[in-house]
């Protein structure tokens, strides 16, 4: 119950050459919390709306619970959706808002009362049932919208950026509640957001999209540790991954990453990734996350570590962490430092790279050399 299959789904809008969604092919398991994430206009909302039945599918097949639903109307798909602006019926009370879906499905009156009461208790909105939506705060509206979805007890929940209209504190709190709620209900949830933090914290699996194309589908940890291309690497994680242009060269019987300022020996294990490609050396972009850039004052790099001198541009305290922006030639590298220390502007520091943690991307395609097909062989 509640599994979803996208079989090579496309969405073309009239008069637009490029499809809004291009070959979306994905299996969503029952009870999964799947997050679609990407910048605005990447097709994530369109995908969700196709799943809801609000948008026609141009090509490809869609199955819910193994049932072909391309031409099924939204109300027959056993789904519920929560919208970004809540979409509460302004002329109906909170109770009627939650009950309408049940009423339209000819649920018995006492059953409706029972279910609305239960949902209101779960979401702690029992005292608001008589009010009209315009008498509610943003957070309360959000709960009512959620309640409307839950009361119907659908197989699949669809959420279209439901938290983006809430303030930061309420957003974090509701995020936690949603995770708990989904776990309690055990229903499939498909969640759309442009916020990578939301995606990382909520999703059991994340789909990163760009320009209508799926970039990578993976659990949060894997997405963070093994991004398949530069887009995913840059989109996931805060602060953004450092990218440094350079080339792979072969010298003294081993491979090096080399740029104008840097020359880093690449571990033997990396060799396999480009060994069997043609002997020509290739232009690459090295990606390294802030926590894998070390400051000499804080830590050591181990054998063969190389330190590079740079100048502090600025530093950013986030509470638990301190990020130091270090100017290295024409590049700026962000490094995570021990928060106790102070790094004044223009101070000279030495930084080094945890070489076994770096990512290498093809400069032309942006594809990770570690990804299948990324070695160009």
């Amino acid at each position: 119950m509640g599994s979803i299959t996208f079989h090579h789904v496309y969405k073309n809008y009239k008069g637009e050459e490029r499809p809004a969604v291009h070959d979306f092919h994905l299996q969503i398991e029952e009870g999964e919390f799947l997050v679609l994430v990407g910048p605005s206009g990447c097709g994530k909302s369109t995908t969700l709306r196709m799943l809801a039945g609000l948008e026609e599918i141009s090509r490809g097949d869609l199955y819910i619970d193994g049932k072909f639903v391309n031409y099924l109307s939204p109300k027959d798909r056993d789904i519920a959706m929560v919208f970004q602006n809540y979409a509460l019926y302004p002329n109906l009370s909170v109770y009627e808002n939650i009950a309408l879906g049940l009423k339209l499905r000819k649920t018995a009156k006492h059953d409706i009362e029972l279910r609305v009461g239960r949902v209101a208790r779960i979401l702690e909105i029992s005292h608001l049932l008589e009010r009209k939506p315009n008498q509610l705060s943003g957070g309360q509206k959000q709960r009512v919208a959620l309640g409307r979805a839950i009361a119907r007890e659908p197989q699949v929940f669809l959420m279209d950026e439901p938290l983006s209209n809430l303030d930061a504190k309420l957003r974090a709190q509701t995020r936690a509640e949603l995770i708990k709620l989904q776990a309690d209900l055990g229903r499939t949830m498909v969640y759309v957001t442009h916020d990578q933090v939301e995606a990382m914290t909520m999703g059991s699996r994340i789909v990163v999209m760009k320009d209508g194309v799926i970039q990578q589908v993976a659990p949060p940890r894997e997405l963070y540790d093994r991004p398949v291309n530069m887009f995913v690497a840059g989109f996931i994680g805060s602060p953004q991954m450092n990218f440094l242009d350079g080339a792979i060269i072969r010298e003294d019987g081993r491979y090096w990453f080399s740029s104008r300022r840097l020359k880093l020996p690449l571990p033997e294990t990396f060799g396999a990734r480009f060994n069997h490609s043609s002997r020509t050396l290739r232009q690459v972009v090295m990606g390294v996350r802030a926590e894998h850039v070390k400051l000499k004052a804080d830590s050591s790099l181990g054998d063969g570590g190389v330190w590079y001198r740079g100048q502090v541009q600025m530093s950013e305290v986030t509470g638990a962490d301190l990020y130091v922006y270090v100017e290295l030639g024409e590049d700026t590298v962000i490094a995570r430092a021990q928060p106790e220390r102070d790094y004044p502007r223009h101070a000279s520091v030495e930084i080094g790279f945890q070489i076994e943690k770096v990512h290498l991307f093809d400069k032309e395609t942006g594809i990770s050399l570690a990804a299948p097909g990324g070695d160009g062989g």
Partner: protein
Amino acid sequence: MRRRWSWFQFALVTSFTALAAFMSLPILFIVNHAFKPQNELFLFPPQFLVQNPTLRNFELLFLHASNATVPFTRYLFNSVLVAALALAGVILVSTMAAYALGKYRFHFKGFILSLITLSLMFAPETVGIPRYLIISGLGMNDTYFGHLLPLLASPVAVFLLIGFVSQIPDELLEAAKIDGASHLTIFSRIVIPLSAPAIATISILTFQTVWGDIETSTLFMQEETMRTLAFYVNSLLSGLQNSVAGQNMAAAAGLLMFLPNLIIFLIFQKRVLETMVHSGIK
């Protein structure tokens, strides 16, 4: 807290109050005129306010009406029935048209919209003959349909409503669709309640048109029993124009014809304001 007024606000409020007072003079005149005894009606220079109010004018009007071949109440019944049906019909047709035109994309939508615009440009007189041909062709002469059909399509009402309906967020309709609502449910439970202010406005406009309309009675009704109050009053006045007693009756009839307009306006006006306040527009 005392409110401070800038000189601009003060000037604005003063000038608009003065304008409103000036605009309400005819209403005041109609009310006063109806209660004037005969000598005051013919006073020269004419007096604005009534000195010795009397109900004599109404008495004369009802006496005259009771002597007519068709009883006064029949005209009244016709008028009330036609106004009620036309109001319901116009609201139904216009809201449905506005919902489709304001919220959905379909073939020839632009063409239909421009047709509606085009129909706004015709004066009613220019379409009198085609209307007559259609009504008589359909065999609707001397039926209530003959009164209603020409009034049902109201381009002004449709335009007003399209503007209103298209502002209803799409998400609301989509949420209803997912909730399991049919087009009819979405229309009746969401679109209609949310368009209440616009519906109130078109109700006022439509009622005024229908209540005062004599065209359908003149052109399509040959039987006197099918004609409306507006027609009766109009013919009464034109027939009695030169008689002295006619002035009394005209004064009373003027007020009687005007009152329903005022009542309808006051009812819906309140609704318009209520809805505005509730929706948080203010």
